[in-house]
């Protein structure tokens, strides 16, 4: 059979073209070897004065070719200090799912009794994972800018691509 196909250049051409099209759409797997990855811990926390929740993401790092997804390590706890004074403390009991639908991840979530107040100064995040070295990150919380302004609601109306639009005006004092 193979010999018969090879004897007919048109059939051979068509066969090569078909194989070519399949390769073209699916791509070709290149067995690229990634170096062994030694997992470390990555922690992220975004806080704003006035927040009612304090969410802390802590995951291990993983190779991009790893089958296992990145996840919250077991028994993780953390603290946030402002100028050496404890402000927030997460424990292993504060684990909750953050996100919607399929895009969810386990994180440490604190529901705060009162809105968060983070004045200017150094803040320090410390993450503790059993059996792992302590993870510490420091940042400077900038001072809150003080601005006074006057708001004129419905100060102007313009015609735009989307029809007539009402504009408010903010005047800095």
């Amino acid at each position: 059979m193979a010999i018969r196909i090879l004897n007919r250049p048109c059939l051979l051409g068509a066969f090569i073209l078909l194989v070519g099209c399949e390769k073209w759409s699916d791509g070709v797997v290149n067995e690229i070897e990634f170096p062994d990855h030694e997992a470390t811990t990555a922690a992220s926390c975004i806080l704003t004065t006035g927040d009612s929740k304090a969410i802390l993401s802590v995951t291990n790092t993983a190779s991009l070719l790893s089958v296992a997804p990145v996840d919250l390590p077991q028994g993780v706890s953390a603290t946030l200090q402002h100028e050496g004074v404890m402000v927030l403390s997460w424990t292993a009991e504060d684990v909750a799912l953050v996100g919607e639908g399929l895009d969810v991840q386990k994180m440490l979530v604190l529901n705060l009794d009162s809105p968060l107040n983070l004045p200017e100064g150094e803040i320090e995040l410390t993450v503790t994972i059993p059996g792992e070295p302590l993870l510490t990150a420091r940042a400077i919380q900038p001072g809150m800018p003080e601005v006074s302004y006057t708001l004129h609601l419905g100060a102007d109306t313009i015609a735009s691509l989307w029809g007539s639009e009402i504009l408010d005006e903010v005047g800095l004092d």
């Binding site: 194989v19 390769k23 791509g27 990555a42 993401s57 790893s66 996100g99």
Partner: protein, 799 residues
């Protein structure tokens, strides 16, 4: 004032000392006269550039210059001189030298029996040339090579040479000895061309039917060249048949082209005009229009066309005038018109780029030994992209139109002049000197925003950096000198200056090439060249696109500089030319986008930053060895090339300041090119290439984090961390192309049918790599190619 030159190494003075010695009593000569003139094709009257003139009695010779003009000094009395050129029957003439003599010589194309073997030295063999790292490929040979879509591409043929690499699959860009695309000085009839790509780089702008000669110099640059670090690519257009009208054309799957040449005044003036256009849009548009709804009209467009034209005029015995031009346009976009009741909508979006070159050259013979050429030139490259939206509402009382357009443009325009002199005082010296002045105007990217909402609201402004002007000047002098028997040198100096903004850069670049012919016939060669480059192409490392920006060195951006050393050996074995070269090149002032920056950030950021904030400068090295075995004529011709090379780069602000492999660092690169004339009717061509996979950066590590989403809520995200720059490799590249050409002689010329197969064994070479998932659901890296097995057919004719 910035001085960019280093003190000259002492050893560079040694050849200069020998140069002075070369005119001492050792080489004292008897009474001589000068024989000069042009060597030309007997049939067409076109000049034969590089033809060889050989005087056996004194074992001295010379080569015709770029205009076919030669000068040789001969002893008094009757002398036998041999004129030869590749593919032409050598001509032996007896000349009675009683005074300085002018002699134009006609050579007949084709080899006659008994003339195939001429004495050693009669043709300028590879070991006779002082110049190293320079390769010529006969255009006729290139035309017989397999071509994708049946469209012969000169630059893709150059990619098959050692030391010259292609970029991505199908790209016509060239990377020479580890250099970037902007480091190639591409001269079309002596005028720099800034973009050589059609169809997003898949085809080059050079129409093989309009080109007479193409050569590339990869190192050991003579002083007359400057302004780029990595290569000089010289493309010379045909002059046109001086005796009768001739034409050639072809119809391929991609484009059709037509060339016409002939005399304007017989034996005195001639013309050549050649045009090419793609027709995919002409074929596809009627189908798209027919399938569009009645109230909607879609007009996609993609085409490129180019035009080469040249006129030359012989003004008496001493003067010749050449006027040549090239115009190339690529246009890609779509226009959609919709109308519903009183409302109609018109959207036009797309991009286009265009090149134009104009050169006026005047050759003048001042005397038997002094020849000059004056070139006045203009070169321009423009890139435009954007969209234009308009809406019209028509009712009984009036018509209201609103318009919103964002039109981006960038480009470069050169105006300049250049004067070159060739002076041959005797057969041991061939001196060239001259100068160049060019004014550049750069448009570093400007966006015109038009917002026309009503008669009261009409907004039209241009955002972006203003045009930049710079003036570049250089002078040079070089002498190709025979220092001793069998020892030749080319010693020269190139001094250049750039005036830009409030900065002035000056650079003195010594150049030296040596060639020693051993008694075995083997030639040992060495060269040293410093180069400085004042213009930069801001480009994405992985892909050359028309969006790439040409920008000058400025007060903040220092010029690029390189120093290249090369040594090599060359020998002719029968009809085979062999050369082996090793080189080392270091480069400084290389320009790259900073991590995370791109064309978009340089073009569209209007927060007070400029393109200079988006780039960083660094250094690079490239070294390696190249082997070339070439056979230029005969029933079987072609070449085999092999390159072993290493190329690395370092930027303080990229890859944490660590050295990393250049994207086109290619350890092994092999090319085999064979053309075989089976009979008068059939010619077979084949090329096979192999190259180490392209270096690339892959995301290696992932971790979870949080980011505010569109409404400010914190949501989970997974971040990926890239590997060290270019620490991975795509799979090796290899491809076989084959072609068969059937030629038939007809009453008024020739007809040829060319069948080509690109990628004959259908190896899907990687174009890019993306993470994916295997059939088993495990993460993998998958490579995608774009060109599978592609058969094509083209029909050509000549009359």
């Amino acid at each position: 004032m910035y001085k960019t030159h280093k003190p000259l190494p002492f050893w560079l003075l040694l050849p200069a000392i020998a140069w002075f010695a070369s005119d001492s009593g050792v080489f004292a000569q008897e009474k001589t006269f000068v024989l000069s003139g042009y060597v030309q094709d007997a049939s067409s009257g076109e000049q034969l550039l590089g033809a060889t003139v050989w005087h056996k009695a004194t074992a001295s010779g010379t080569a015709a210059n770029l205009y076919g003009h030669y000068t040789i000094v001969l002893p008094i009395g009757k002398q036998e001189v041999l004129f030869s050129y590749l593919g032409y029957t050598p001509l032996r003439l007896e000349v009675n030298m009683t005074k300085d003599t002018k002699l134009d010589v006609d050579l007949a194309a084709g080899m006659q029996l008994g003339e195939a073997v001429v004495e050693a030295g009669a043709s300028e063999s590879i070991e006779e040339r002082v110049q190293m790292s320079k390769i010529d490929i006969p255009v006729d040979q290139i035309k017989k090579l397999p071509a994708i879509a049946g469209e012969v591409d000169l630059l893709k043929s150059l990619q098959l040479l050692p030391g010259v690499q292609s970029g991505n699959e199908g790209s016509s860009g060239i990377y020479v000895r580890g250099g970037s695309p902007d480091q190639n000085l591409i001269l079309l009839d002596g005028v720099p061309l800034y973009s050589v790509s059609h169809l997003f780089g898949f085809f080059s702008v050079f129409n093989a039917d309009a080109v007479r000669k193409i050569s590339i110099t990869k190192g050991g640059y003579p002083s007359r060249f400057g302004g780029r670090l990595s290569s000089i690519l010289e493309v010379t257009m045909k002059e046109g048949h001086k005796k009768e009208i001739h034409g050639a054309g072809s119809i391929s799957m991609l484009a059709s082209k037509m060339t016409l040449e002939g005399p304007l005044v017989k034996d005195k003036a001639s013309f050549m005009i050649s045009g090419r256009r793609t027709y995919l849009d002409l074929l596809v548009n009627p189908i798209i229009r027919a399938s569009s709804p009645e109230d909607s009209q879609v007009d996609p467009r993609y085409f490129f066309h180019d035009l080469n034209a040249k006129v030359n005029w012989r003004l008496g015995n001493r003067d010749r005038l050449y006027l040549s031009t090239f115009q190339g346009v690529d246009d890609f976009g779509v226009r959609t018109k919709d109308s519903q009741g009183e409302r109609s909508e018109d959207i036009d979006l797309g991009l286009d780029w265009r090149n134009s070159v104009l050169a006026l050259r005047w050759n003048h013979e001042w005397g038997p030994s002094l020849f000059s050429n004056l070139t006045l030139m203009k070169s321009r490259y423009d890139f435009n992209t954007g969209f234009d939206y308009s809406e019209t509402i028509t009712n009984a009382s009036n018509t209201e139109t609103t318009r919103f357009a964002s039109l981006y443009s960038s480009g470069i325009r050169d105006l300049g002049g250049r004067m070159d002199f060739d002076y041959a005082p005797n057969n041991r010296h061939f001196i060239r000197f001259g100068g160049n002045l060019t004014q550049h105007r750069f448009n570093p990217g400007a966006t015109q925003v038009i917002l026309n909402l009503s008669e009261e609201f009409d907004f039209d402004t241009i955002l972006g950096a203003p045009d930049l002007y710079s003036t570049e000047a250089f002078v040079y002098a070089e002498d190709e000198v025979e220092l001793a028997e069998g020892l030749k040198a080319n010693i020269g100096l190139h001094a250049s200056t750039l005036f830009v903004e409030d900065a002035t850069y000056s650079s003195v670049q010594p150049r030296l090439a040596l060639s020693k012919r051993l008694s075995s016939g083997l030639a040992i060669k060495a060269s040293y060249a410093e180069m400085t480059q004042f213009v930069n192409l801001l480009t994405n490392e992985g892909l050359t696109l028309p969006t790439d920006l040409w920008l000058p060195s400025t007060a903040r951006i220092r010029p690029q500089q390189s120093t290249q050393y090369a040594v090599g050996a060359a020998k002719t074995l029968g009809k085979l030319e062999l050369s082996l070269e090793a080189y080392y090149k270091d480069m400084d002032g290389l320009l790259s986008y900073k991590e995370g920056a791109s064309f978009g950030s340089a073009a569209f950021d209007n927060n007070g930053t400029t393109w200079e904030d988006a780039v960083t400068q660094g250094q690079g090295t490239s070294y390696g060895a190249e082997l070339l075995v070439q056979k230029k004529q005969g029933k079987t011709s072609g070449w085999v090339g092999y390159t072993l090379s290493w190329t690395d780069r370092q930027f303080d602000e990229i890859n944490s300041g660590e050295w990393f492999p250049f994207t086109y660092d290619r350890r092994h690169d092999v090319s085999v090119v064979l053309i075989h004339e089976l009979s008068d009717k059939w010619t077979l061509g084949t090329t096979w290439v192999y190259g180490t996979g392209r270096a690339l950066t892959l995301n290696e590590v992932q971790y979870g984090s949080i980011l505010p989403d569109y409404n400010g809520s914190l949501s989970p995200v997974t971040f990926e961390v890239p590997s060290d720059r270019n620490s991975y490799r795509l799979s090796p590249y290899h491809r076989l192309d084959v072609s068969a050409t059937r030629t038939k002689n007809v009453k008024h010329g020739q007809r040829s049918l060319v069948l080509s197969v690109y990628n004959a064994y259908n190896n899907l070479n990687p174009f890019l790599a993306l993470p994916g998932t295997s059939d088993e659901g495990t993460p993998i890296i998958r490579e995608y190619g774009i060109f599978p097995f592609i058969p094509s057919v083209a029909w050509q004719f000549e009359f």
